[in-house]
């Protein structure tokens, strides 16, 4: 049998919006810095990267995706950020200022500037796996889930990306061998 066991609870529009706002703040705190860096790895400009972060979070709040775990949530956010970044490269003019390189030069870190320029020069398909593998520390399986490609494709892109970087950077940099 079925019986009512609690008082009816009413929520006004302000309460409903407060729930969404709390979610937005939590997402920004938890994933904001990572999404910003991921977007920057594509676009090489802070203003563009910040807009991608904003659009990604709005997309999340609008679509309310069904995600069972935090890992799925992160993968969803990074996939959307990556797709929005690629769309921006394809259809919108990317701003030219690379604040990151400017800061490296200002701090006289030519060694890092050299690495950054080498990574920037990689084709996009290698750049994105390099970022997710080396910075985010994700497994090739997780990267495959984010980019929606086969894990073998991720491995292949990672290997080729490394080879291209090695060719430019020469010796002096440990690329690691594990996938």
């Amino acid at each position: 049998m079925c019986r009512a066991v609690s008082e009816t609870v009413r929520q006004d529009p302000e309460d409903r919006r407060a729930v969404v706002n709390q979610r937005a703040e939590a997402l920004l705190k938890t994933h904001g810095p990572g999404i910003l860096r991921f977007a920057y790895s594509y676009l090489h400009n802070m203003a563009d990267a910040e807009e991608i972060l904003q659009d990604t979070l709005i997309q999340y709040l609008k679509t309310a995706p069904v995600l069972e775990t935090e890992a799925h949530e992160k993968a969803w956010l990074y996939r959307v950020a990556g797709n929005l970044s690629k769309n921006r490269i394809a259809y919108n003019r990317v701003r030219s200022a690379d604040e990151l390189n400017e800061s490296l030069i200002a701090d006289q870190r030519e060694d890092l500037s050299f690495v950054w320029e080498a990574v920037k020069a990689l084709p996009l398909r290698y750049r994105e796996v390099i970022h997710l593998f080396y910075y985010e520390g994700l497994s090739t399986g997780h990267i495959a889930a984010i980019l929606k490609v086969k894990e073998s494709t991720v491995r292949s892109r990672l290997l080729r990306g490394r080879e291209k970087l090695k060719a430019v950077l020469k010796e002096g940099y440990d690329f690691g061998e594990g996938l």
């Binding site: 079925c2 009512a4 706002n21 910003l36 910040e50 972060l53 904003q54 679509t63 959307v80 950077l169």
Partner: protein, 205 residues
């Protein structure tokens, strides 16, 4: 290389000023989530017809494009999904038993069984103008994917489980419950009274 790349990317930071600005934008963004609008009853048939027309158009467009994604690549929360031919096959795909609904408050014209990656089972019962979607997943998280903050909530007990009903003044359209191992949700396109929900919930077997 890894150390150098990390050192480079660590310089890309989300400043407090940027975070505050983004948060303000998100707080004022026009989102459909959490702002459900209820239509008068006499408008519902017209709305249902429009939705059906839009869905039909979307199906045609998706068929022509051969893809399921929006231009941004977003699949609206749909991860890897596999259609099953029966509830038994669906149970095999997700790895746990899945119940069906014995009582549906409309004439069912189509039933679809879908397994989502990560272990989410879904059975969608469709009628001419309405549908019910039963979802089941491991764990205690609401599997409905419906993040709407409904205006009215109440709870009922069915076979030892406390079920939360969510809706508005004219009835409820989402039921959610857990048993410690699994969580379930039933979402309806029409709002039903607690009595109708009672029949639906008691028929889950």
């Amino acid at each position: 290389m890894e150390k150098a790349y990390r050192e480079i990317m660590d310089r890309v930071v989300l400043s407090e000023a940027t975070e505050a600005r983004l948060l303000q934008t998100l707080r004022t963004a026009q989102l459909q989530t959490g702002t459900t609008t209820r239509f008068p009853r006499y408008h519902r048939l017209a709305v249902a017809a429009c939705v059906a027309l839009l869905l039909a158009g979307a199906v045609v467009l998706l068929g022509e494009r051969g893809e399921k994604e929006s231009p941004s690549g977003v699949q609206s929360g749909l991860w890897d999904r596999t259609e099953a031919a029966s509830c038994q096959e669906l149970s095999q795909l997700v790895g746990f038993p899945v119940e069906t609904l014995g009582a549906v408050p409309f004439e069912v014209t189509d039933v679809r069984y879908t397994a989502y990656g990560g272990g989410l089972a879904e059975i969608a019962y469709s009628g001419e103008e309405q549908n019910l979607v039963l979802r089941k997943a491991m764990g205690q998280t609401d599997p409905s994917g419906d993040y709407t903050a409904y205006a009215v909530q109440t709870t009922v007990e069915v076979d030892g489980s406390t079920v939360t009903l969510n809706g508005a003044e004219d009835g409820y359209c989402l039921a959610v419950w857990q048993d410690g191992t699994y969580s379930w949700s039933i979402r309806s396109t029409m709002a039903y009274s607690t009595d109708v929900w009672t029949e639906i919930l008691e028929s889950v077997a």
